[in-house]
């Protein structure tokens, strides 16, 4: 910490507790408290029970969790593959130094903009767009699980693209050149040198995509078929019909599942970082 005096340190901690804890930690604590509550009429919940959890981890709720996990997994894999591919292509088009034409640099920048678009466009709009686009021949995906995964992939690819693109810029071109000078074809260089060196960023991107997809609601609402209900939709439905405590329990399950996956991914990251 950059604050050295004892007083300054206390002041900084106090500020942290007053400003940041209520903002970031308290809402989550409230959810956890509510998920155990039998009723909540005063300032604090009362009548603690584990009933909501037994409901939240059974039957349709359990199925919703599985649906969410599968959707997030599918969307992350697609997003990572597409995002990485596009980021590599954009980096190659933009090039370094001489030998890249103005046209190819323009194409690279266009790719950048294109993949940024889903970040700028509200997800409701993306959901509607996907719904309209795939509800008529030749591609009818309306009412399938595929359309949900597709919409999620579309939404999170932008983040995968951005984080991989940033990592590619930081990657020292000397590695690629050393590999090429040793007689390695570009595909071999990509597979054996570039992707392994990008692995920490790729896993970070995967984690980000997974977390975003797990929490996605607005586009999902427009698209989900009855047999493919992700957990956020169920949480919304529960609170909508007044079952706040059940919703809270479902939310804690969602949060825990996401955190567990992120934790697993971060373990891979630690192993994958070399320096």
């Amino acid at each position: 910490m950059l604050v050295h005096s004892r007083k300054g340190k206390w002041a900084t901690w106090a500020l942290f507790f007053v400003l940041f804890l209520p903002l970031f930690a308290l809402p989550l604590l409230v959810i956890v408290a509510a998920s155990f509550a039998g009723h909540w009429s005063g300032a604090f919940p009362s009548g603690f029970t584990g009933e909501h959890y037994s409901a939240a981890t059974r039957g349709e709720s359990l199925q919703a969790l599985t649906t969410s996990l599968l959707t997030a997994l599918g969307a992350s894999v697609i997003a990572l593959a597409a995002g990485t591919w596009a980021a590599l292509a954009a980096a190659a088009l933009k090039g370094r130094g001489s030998g890249t034409s103005r046209l190819s640099r323009l194409c690279g920048r266009t790719l950048d903009t294109l993949f940024m678009l889903p970040v700028a466009v509200p997800s409701v709009v993306v959901g509607l767009a996907v719904l309209v686009a795939f509800s008529k021949p030749p591609m009818i995906l309306n009412g399938t699980s595929t359309i949900v995964v597709l919409a999620h992939a579309l939404l999170v690819t932008a983040f995968a693209y951005q984080s991989v693109a940033a990592a590619i810029v930081r990657l020292d071109p000397a590695y690629e050149q050393a590999a090429a000078s040793l007689g390695a074809r570009p595909a071999y260089v990509l597979w054996r040198v570039k992707l392994p060196l990008l692995l920490p960023s790729l896993t970070a991107a995967a984690g980000l995509c997974f977390a975003l997809s797990m929490g996605e609601l607005s586009a999902t609402m427009m698209l989900y078929p009855p047999d493919w209900t992700p957990l956020p939709v169920r949480i919304y439905a529960a609170t909508d019909r007044g079952a706040t405590f059940t919703g809270a329990a479902l939310a804690v399950v969602l949060m825990t599942a996401t955190l567990l996956v992120l934790f697993a991914v971060s373990r891979i990251r630690t192993k994958a970082s070399y320096r």
């Binding site: 590695y175 590999a179 090429a180 040793l182 390695a184 074809r185 392994p196």
Partner: protein, 350 residues
């Protein structure tokens, strides 16, 4: 394997900025050619043109008899070592060295032997299982050289390979490189450096570069004893460069007549006289210069005396003096006529 590198009026430009201006240079098979110059002189660009990382705007590059100008880097058959080594951090030393062999699909049974040979040659055999991050800078450099040699290239490109090492390691690695070259007499080496000591020590010939152009090329002895222009004189070794007016068989420096070989320089013009500091003696002699001492530096084995001679600074490296001259005192320096080189003015400006 036919070696050698030939630049045939190679020019490279980034946008409108010319960074290499029609370079003509031939490196014979088995020769060590140093490209020596300050940063921005175009020496690294020349090396990168051989490696295939920059595309010449005009001219051709040949490796052996092959025109490689349009070939991608991985089809050129070169070994390359760069300043920052660029060892693959996710591979063990042995996998780094085996990388080129695997990429070129060498016979699988042959790879371990060739990796071991390359590591043996650079003295890194006992580090095969380590990761690059577990090695010191000098060790990483050896691995980088082993990796480049494992593919048995006809041409080895070294881009400032020692500049990231400290001075002591550097002189050790210089000796190593010289030994490696004796063991691999057929490999042509293009050695880019800004360090004249490295170039003088290692190279069979030195190509001096400045401002995107080749300024001079010759053996280290030729360049040191008979530089062709002021830039070479000052960049290869130390030099006193004195403006003189040329007479017949002599030159005049601020009125003082100095006997030197005027060669082909026409009488009556202004030229530059180059005298190496260690060839300047204290006291009167055949060509005497009288001046005032402005600075005396003790350097252990030698004293470097700076004197003001008619407005020009002259330095002399003298074997350690018992009684060095005092600052501000009058001093007489001399040099032998055969130790001076007359440089016609204007040849440096291309």
């Amino acid at each position: 394997m036919s070696g050698g590198i030939r630049f045939d009026s190679v020019s490279v430009a980034y946008g409108k900025q010319v960074v290499l201006d029609s370079l003509d240079l031939t490196v014979e098979q088995g020769e060590v050619m140093a490209l020596l110059g300050p940063s921005g002189s175009g020496k690294t660009t020349a090396l990168r043109a051989v490696a295939g990382f920059v595309r010449p705007a005009s001219g051709r590059v040949f490796i052996g008899d092959r025109d490689v100008t349009a070939l991608p880097p991985h089809r050129r058959g070169i070994g390359m070592v760069v300043q920052q080594y660029a060892l693959f951090p996710h591979m063990r030393v042995e996998d780094n060295v085996a990388f080129g062999l695997k990429a070129q699909k060498a016979a699988r049974a042959e790879i371990p032997g060739r990796v071991a040979d390359a590591l043996e040659m650079t003295g890194m055999a006992s580090y095969a299982k380590r990761y690059p991050r577990e090695l010191s800078g000098g060790q990483q450099q050896r691995v980088a050289i082993a990796r480049a040699l494992a593919i048995r290239p006809g041409v080895l490109l070294l881009d400032e390979p020692l500049s990231a090492l400290d001075a002591q390691l550097r002189s050790g690695m210089l000796a190593e490189l010289a030994r490696l070259h004796r063991e691999l007499p057929d490999v042509s080496i293009l050695y880019v450096t800004h360090d004249q000591v490295e170039a003088l020590t290692l190279a069979d010939r030195i190509a001096v570069m400045d401002k995107a152009r080749l300024q001079d090329c010759g053996t280290p002895q030729e360049l040191y004893r008979r530089p062709r222009n002021e830039f070479t004189a000052s960049f290869v070794g130390n030099a006193n460069l004195l403006p003189v007016s040329v007479g017949v068989g002599s030159v005049s420096l601020g009125g003082a007549e100095l006997k030197v070989d005027t060669g082909e320089v026409a009488p009556g013009v202004t030229a530059t006289l180059c005298v190496r500091p260690h060839l300047v003696g204290l006291g009167p002699g055949p060509n005497s210069l009288s001046g005032t001492v402005t600075e005396v530096q003790w350097r252990g084995a030698t004293h470097r005396v700076f004197a003001d001679v008619g407005g020009h600074s002259v330095k002399a490296d003298l074997r350690e003096l018992r009684e060095p001259p005092a600052l501000g005192s009058d001093v007489t320096l001399h040099f032998a006529p055969e130790d001076a080189v007359l440089l016609a003015a204007g040849v440096t400006d291309g």
